[in-house]
């Protein structure tokens, strides 16, 4: 991809020219994140979260590799090896807390990044594949985080593994054999622990590879922007370096400051005390809960309490996986040609209802399964499925959108320059063939 006005890579230094003729990596970097990648000039701070996600992936990989130098993947020794890291290994406590909280922050960043995509229609043509690769990254992140949480072999590690692998037994016929195959035994034990360690070490590198594809797919059409209007000419863009490197730089410093506050002053706030108890297969904790980033899905899982053709447990598992899988179809569920929620008032209202709905689901997922919380999660989960599968398709058919700016630079300049009639959405309401 390139916009015609993208600055070409012209190495001046003889060494750089020598390198460029043999292995054009600096050229690649220049065109991807350097002065040679034109980016819309009107990006807001929600566009920083892609870079932050890459940063936290790096933090997790670096701290993880170092932790793996001391961690001992044995059912007898794992818990003590983690405490050894905390107490005896030089700087071990900061590396462990950084990794533990880094996982939470990776999810915070990714959730904001996803909701940015939902609001601004980043999943729409021509960026459908960027969206789907992103969902693949999200699924890999969830698998990695789940397996990572098992490794300290605390009470929540063990019982979380028990519950999650228990999902598979919900499937008729193949369920139980698959569960036993996953665990390498009848319950989480040595075999499960060592294979989870192996895969937990592997998957982040798979994630990194998919991230490269994700960015590559994005750079073909170029970055989206808050208006959803395509880039028309040079006035609409700025080179990534130095403008967005500077913006990413300062936002990174601010976000890492927030991260440091958790690592140094509240390192166990996002965790659960029960994981400081060594795993005991004979004692179930009072309330088994996963980490907070899984709470909405946990709420959906527990919301199904009635058998209806299928057993309730199977409904729960299908809905839990379904809630993510339906997102793959989003570019075809929401067919509005107007991308950005800024110009879709009805869509915008429902978007904020969705945000509130997901927060309610999250809150219910972390709470005990009492009638109040189960009831709330039933209503909230019902809305979630209705939102994506019924409401969005109908809205995109029938809504009245606001007029779009003619171009990005025009929107930035607040209408000072009028341009020729643009491609993109017409100025008034439409009925778009669904």
């Amino acid at each position: 991809m390139s916009f015609a006005w993208a600055k070409p890579y012209e190495p001046k230094h003889p060494f750089m020219r020598w390198l460029d003729e043999r292995l054009p990596l600096p050229r690649l970097a220049y065109g991807a994140v350097g002065g040679g990648y034109p980016v819309p000039r009107n990006l807001n701070y929600l566009w920083n979260f892609g870079f932050l996600a890459g940063l936290f992936l790096t933090i997790q990989i670096v701290t993880g590799i170092v932790l793996a130098m001391w961690y001992y993947a044995s059912a007898d020794g794992a818990f003590n090896s983690v405490e050894h890291i905390m107490r005896d290994v030089n700087a071990g406590w900061v590396i462990r807390y950084a990794h533990m909280n880094g996982a939470s922050f990776f999810f915070i960043v990714v959730y904001i990044h996803i909701f940015r995509g939902l609001f601004y229609g980043s999943y729409k043509a021509p960026r459908e594949l960027v969206w789907m690769l992103g969902l693949v990254i999200y699924l890999l992140m969830m698998a990695t985080a789940f397996m990572g949480y098992v490794l300290p072999w605390g009470q929540m590690s063990y019982w979380g593994a028990q519950v999650i692998t228990g999902f598979f037994s919900a499937f008729p016929l193949v369920g139980e054999p698959v569960r036993i195959w996953l665990l390498g035994g009848y319950a989480p034990d040595q075999a499960a622990l060592t294979r989870f360690f192996s895969l937990h070490y592997l998957l982040p590198f798979v994630i990194a590879a998919v991230v490269i594809l994700h960015i590559w797919a994005l750079h073909i059409p170029g970055s989206g922007n808050p208006t959803g209007v395509d880039v028309k000419d040079e006035k609409d863009t700025l080179p990534f370096h130095p403008f967005y490197t500077a913006k990413d730089g300062w936002a990174t410093a601010a976000f890492v400051l927030l991260y440091a506050l958790f690592v140094y002053f509240a390192p166990n706030y996002l965790g659960h005390p029960d994981n400081y108890i060594p795993a005991n297969p004979l004692a179930t904790p009072a309330h088994i809960v996963p980490e907070w980033y899984f709470w909405p899905f946990y709420a959906i899982l527990r919301a199904f309490t009635v058998d209806f053709i299928l057993p309730a447990k199977l409904w729960g598992v299908l809905a839990m996986f379904g809630s993510i899988l339906l997102l793959f179809f989003l570019p075809w569920l929401d067919r509005s040609p107007v991308r950005s929620g800024s110009y879709r008032p009805l869509f915008k209202t429902f978007f904020w209802v969705l945000v509130a709905d997901v927060l309610v689901l999250g809150w219910c997922g972390g709470a005990p399964a009492t009638p109040l919380y189960v009831g709330l999660s039933q209503l909230a989960a019902a809305y979630y499925f209705a939102h994506f599968l019924i409401i969005l398709p109908l809205i995109s058919k029938f809504e009245t959108t606001l007029p779009l700016p003619n171009s990005i630079s025009e929107s930035v300049l607040h209408g000072e320059k009028k341009e020729a009639a643009p491609a993109g959405a017409p100025a008034h309401s439409t009925t778009v063939a669904g």
């Binding site: 690592v263 002053f265 800024s342 019902a382």
Partner: protein, 310 residues
């Protein structure tokens, strides 16, 4: 083709439908047979408030208190509770010197498991400073046999492993009392069984551990320390257990302050550099004229600025 388009609506209706069905069944069950109240719900108490030197972002350890707490652990708790993640030499963090630690290890009432070098049989030996605190029981079975089938937990991480932390430990130690008559009247099935002890700070109200701190002066503190009341001993051992759970706490707070100050500066500098680089781009935007109604980009603020209604 139409069926294809319809699938999304059908799937959505299916999930939402089953969920709403579950909801209505749940509501009707709640109305027809509401859940029974439990003794725990009514009589369980949230932990008391406990202020320690280690609290807060600037928290440090009070070594004198930690030493008193260690003394309480040594003379009262170590009979049943292990401290297996702490090594004797770690006590230098409390301000003891090498000779004192060597004496503590050497005189510890439980010996460390070892092998007789002549016969090869299992034996015990005196603890070295490099050893971890030995558990009072050989294994879980022995522990349960000696404690009416209850397992006294290892205390190394107890303040991190319980909701409420040190305040919870302090509340348990000072919370023993007679079971209230109204509880027995309302929930006869929840009467404290033989061998357990009533303590409203414990999640299910009845605890296998008998009150360990029964009288003031149970432990004798060295001169220059506060009087060893039950309350004081409980506070001191709770503070000690915060240290055993996280010996690096004070270091963490101190490094944290340095890191946060550094990052605050870095953020400030980085922000100024950003504004610097964007200056001309931002300046251009500010030179613009009023919004034209048919080209509104940003709603609320831009509308107000342009004086455009709605």
């Amino acid at each position: 083709m139409l069926l294809f388009r319809a699938i999304k609506y059908l799937v959505g209706l299916a999930f939402a439908g089953v969920l709403l069905l579950s909801f209505f069944v749940g509501v009707s069950t709640y109305i027809s047979s509401p859940p029974e109240p439990t003794a725990e719900e009514e009589f369980h108490l949230e932990h008391k408030h406990l202020a320690l030197a280690s609290d807060g972002p600037f928290g440090k350890f009070d070594n004198k208190q930690l030493q008193r707490g260690f003394q309480v652990y040594k003379e009262v708790c170590s009979a049943c509770h292990g401290l297996s993640l702490v090594a004797f030499h770690d006590l230098e963090g409390l301000g003891y010197n090498e000779a004192e630690i060597k004496a503590i290890a050497n005189q510890w009432q439980t010996e460390v498991p070892s092998v007789n070098p002549d016969t090869g049989e299992a034996a015990t030996r005196k603890a070295l400073t490099s050893d971890k605190f030995p558990s009072p029981y050989a294994n879980e079975t022995a522990a349960r046999a000696a404690n009416n089938n209850a397992l006294p937990p290892d205390l190394s991480l107890i303040t991190k492993a319980r909701e409420g932390g040190a305040a919870y430990v302090y509340s348990i130690l000072t919370g023993y009392r007679a079971q209230p008559a109204e509880l027995v009247k309302k929930f006869p099935a929840a009467k404290t069984p033989e061998g357990l002890h009533y303590n409203p700070y414990f999640p299910n109200l009845n605890l296998a551990m008998p009150p360990p701190l029964t009288a003031d002066g149970q432990v004798t503190y060295a001169p220059g320390n506060p009087a060893p009341t039950v309350d004081q001993m409980a506070k001191d051992v709770a503070a000690f257990l915060v240290w055993t759970a996280e010996p690096k706490l004070a270091k963490r707070h101190a490094s944290g302050i340095a890191v946060v100050i550094f990052l605050a500066f870095a953020t400030g500098l980085a922000y100024l550099a950003y504004r610097n680089i964007w200056r001309e781009q931002k300046a251009k935007v500010r030179e613009t004229g009023p919004l034209e109604p048919e080209h509104q980009a940003k709603s609320g603020r831009a509308k107000r600025k342009a004086g455009v209604a709605g």
